[in-house]
Symmetry: C2
Subunit: 204 residues, 2 copies
């Protein structure tokens, strides 16, 4: 794609570096911005650089935050004795959207994956363990993706905290709502039969 302007060309190049955005989409976005008011585009540009400069990670749970402590950790209404361990910030947002959880979080920043060169030291496991050892926390809920890496991470953290009296739980696995039995994979179906639930708890 040959563009008549160097400035346009470099703007398109920058946009097409974003995930899932190809050159044609990038061009569409740039031409859209060109049609906007100068002050609106300036605001767009300012907010992006300000966000990257000023966003912090919560010193307690490593969630994204504007301050030292994130809005969840500093909220007195949230239960401080239960911690949900997640892989990344998107998982926090997904769980928050359900409005079913009133505890706090701990964002690992990934899962243990030796093949990708990610060991426990690259993640926030050490701070998680220090957090647990203070003694305020009673339950850890693992909400990691059901992969080998996720399970390895759970196993690793579980083992590190072996001597504690913590309660370890994981989010329920099973057939999704709207899912059809015959298309479910064997492993999920097997687990969902083994870990069957009393109907009373299901229809609550």
């Amino acid at each position: 794609m040959q563009l008549s302007s160097q400035l346009l060309e470099s703007a398109v190049k920058e946009f097409s570096r974003l995930p899932g955005i190809g050159k044609k989409t990038a061009l569409r976005l740039v031409l859209h911005l060109l049609k906007q008011e100068k002050k609106d585009v300036q605001q767009f540009s300012d907010i992006i650089s300000q966000m990257r400069e000023d966003i912090k990670f919560c010193s307690c749970c490593y969630n994204i935050s504007d301050n030292e402590l994130c809005s969840i950790c500093s909220n007195p209404g949230r239960k401080k004795d239960i911690v949900c361990v997640v892989e990344n910030i998107r998982d926090v947002i997904a769980i928050e959207t359900t409005e079913q959880y009133s505890g706090t979080y701990h964002v690992l920043g990934g899962v243990i994956s030796p093949l990708d060169g990610i060991g426990p030291d690259q993640l926030t496991i050490e701070p998680l363990i220090s957090r647990m050892l203070i003694g305020e926390i009673k339950e850890i809920v693992f909400a990691l993706n059901p992969t080998i890496q996720g399970d390895t991470t759970i196993y690793y953290i579980r083992k590190k905290l072996n001597n504690s009296s913590l309660k370890f739980t994981t989010i329920a696995r099973g057939i999704a709502f709207g899912g059809e039995l015959e298309y479910a994979d064997e492993m999920t179906l097997a687990k969902s039969i083994r870990n069957r639930l009393p109907v009373d708890s299901y229809i609550q």
Copy 2:
């Protein structure tokens, strides 16, 4: 979607204003930027605002340009006696990509559409006509979309230049390569039979 950071929230809001980008995609883009180096994000932000501030429109053809004249109008290798009239900059890029055209362009900025409140005055038709009257130009190629608005625009310009000795052409309409006859609409098929081509010109 409840986010734990005001900065994140406003960045997501800005991104989701772009066409075709919803809140979830916006969040993915913003989280991607958060993971990049600060200087790369600063560069992204700078290029966007610089582009909006500094990009000009070519004083001759209204294409996007870094200078007074765009790279096509100022290129001595391009034929100055043939002008291709297009609706917008994307059409220029599409035609340039084919590498089949060596003349210059004129970007109208839209087509006449009374229903949308777009009359000849909102477009660059006046400058096009002044350009034609200088006498250097011999042929106008209309490359507008085959809609009523496009045809109206061609008709309007054609009539304004009635007394000139210009040659008026339009890009060929017909069955697209890879298109199947039985699925072609009646109008296209009718026109492509009426304006049939000698086989010799087709196999060139």
